[in-house]
Symmetry: C2
Subunit: 328 residues, 2 copies
């Protein structure tokens, strides 16, 4: 029997909360223990449409299901008035290989699990208290990242900088003020955001580093979640060179697709530079933040274990509550 | 809108016929023209269950959809009385990246497109007339390959050799006699099959070559479709060394997963040995069989273009006839 859930049904049973953050943390922990088999991302380019379909997956030993995520990014869709991102997740039995669930989430679960990874990064790397935080970008992840952060490092002010049009930025300010009950400031510059925030999350598709090392200050934590392809970069390479602690979700992937790639390419790091994987920090194999004045950076590229964890959890809840359509 | 088809619905609209063979031939042709973007196969191993989930895909320029195939092989399923193979195909818009179809075919379309590839190989490589043909194996592909071959090289006798139990072999003989209206002989040895057949198709999961070069005879064509992983092999390496013409579906893949891998590993071929891809033969860029006495071999590992072609065609027919379930 295959259970099929649409986006509305998925949203009715899964939201970004502490249980999801715990599941994502477990995923990174299993990855570090060597319990996750994570094949390289499959990328299917559609150059004519500036599009790409990416497939991520992971099998985690001891779990009786695995997930396969299909995520599309078609950057000319906006011309058609359509969202550029879409996708779905498949849940497959790790006992028999049979399909068990089709989660037609249009990328929602990816937004949630990516937000949750930001919370995990902050939990282990951000300063203990952070009254004022910052975000670069005003899209979906700029929302999810701040909502996730609130659950692990409650704050009272967001400083946001974005290149989006005025109305998108105004909407962000309005929405987040209401959603999180905090002050949201439309900041005049990235520099202002970084200098006045204890934690900064970058959520852009930028292709050139826009955070400068000169702006770093003691105690600052930066999570860079935007770069996930070979062309993208959010942090100037010197930021990673200057940080006291550089972490990431999966080192091999970050060196190929994330901020580590840029830092390596610009000779600001080497393949041997110390980089801590989140799972190793979670498992206590390597230290996270050890004092309030450290400057820490975490690069997130997104790992299949996150998808497998959130997809399994979603299908489990749907099955318990008998939500969705079933076909045999 | 997403159209979801189950196996029964798919079987009601798609079968192994000349139109499917033509579509698969077109797929190989596009591949050869450089119009297909075929990422490497994603493999998700589940070693505890001797299982593996493989993902294949291809985008073919000029087509407004692409397909993603998920194929599971779990070899302990038989203990549970379940088939070891299962799977599905997803059809994604190449215009927007949006999911358009979910084909819950349990591997049926793979059987059909694999059979069709065998027909394409025979069309360009087999001798013009073949009264007696052979097959090694008595499973699903042993059926599909013979049915496909009948469409391009009509024959009157099948010689079958298989290590399957008596009842499985008896069932094969009975079924194929009825289905194709030919004589089917349960042959005493592989040697007998090869020596008395003009065309032989191998359809096994063997891990060691079982067809010997000494048995080759003028005019023989062999299609080896079993090997699709690094462990499998059906032809002794000398068979490839001795053949007048070696072809395959995709050289890079066959060198990694197919009979070319074994021949290279055993130093019976080199990376520079002449190997013709089917698409190049179809497009007339390299010759297929040029005389009746040549010995020809074609190794099929299965390429994403086949999946994309058959999945697109299936969804097109289903949409025209309004078959299946639609969700939005």
């Amino acid at each position: 029997m295959i259970r099929i859930l649409n986006e509305k049904e998925i949203k009715s049973i899964v939201s970004l909360d502490l249980s999801v953050i715990a599941a994502i943390e477990t995923g990174f922990s299993e990855l570090d223990r060597g319990n996750a088999l994570v094949p390289p991302i499959m990328m299917i380019p559609v150059p004519e449409k500036k599009g790409e379909v990416d497939i991520k997956s992971a099998y985690i030993k001891g779990y009786d299901q695995l997930a396969i995520k299909v995520a599309s990014g078609f950057f000319e869709n906006s011309r058609l008035g359509l969202p550029s991102q879409s996708g779905l997740m498949l849940v497959v039995s790790a006992e028999t290989g049979f399909l068990q669930g089709v989660l037609l989430d249009n990328g929602y679960l990816t937004q949630v699990r990516t937000g949750a990874a930001g919370a995990v990064a902050a939990k282990f790397l951000a300063p203990q208290t952070a009254d004022s935080v910052g975000v670069i970008g005003s899209g979906m992840q700029a929302r999810f990242q701040m909502a996730a952060l609130m659950l692990v490092r409650p704050f009272s002010t967001i400083r946001m900088f974005s290149l989006d049009p005025d109305d998108a930025r105004d909407r962000y300010v309005r929405d987040m003020q209401r959603q999180l009950n905090v002050r949201v400031i439309n900041a005049p510059s990235i520099e202002a955001v970084v200098k006045e925030s204890a934690i900064v999350v970058t959520t852009t598709p930028a292709r050139q580093g826009f955070i400068k090392a000169a702006w770093l200050h003691p105690g600052l934590h930066i999570t860079a979640m935007g770069s996930d392809t070979e062309e993208k970069q959010e942090l100037e390479a010197d930021v990673l060179a200057r940080a006291d602690l550089v972490a990431c979700d999966l080192k091999t992937q970050s060196m190929r697709l994330g901020e580590l790639r840029s830092a390596l390419a610009q000779n600001r790091m080497t393949a041997d530079s110390p980089v801590a994987e989140l799972g190793a920090i979670i498992n206590g194999r390597t230290p996270g933040r050890s004092d309030g004045r450290q400057i820490t950076v975490c690069d997130l590229t997104g790992v299949g274990v996150q998808d497998t964890m959130i997809a399994i959890n979603t299908l489990k809840i749907a099955t318990e509550r008998n939500i969705g359509l079933t076909v045999s």
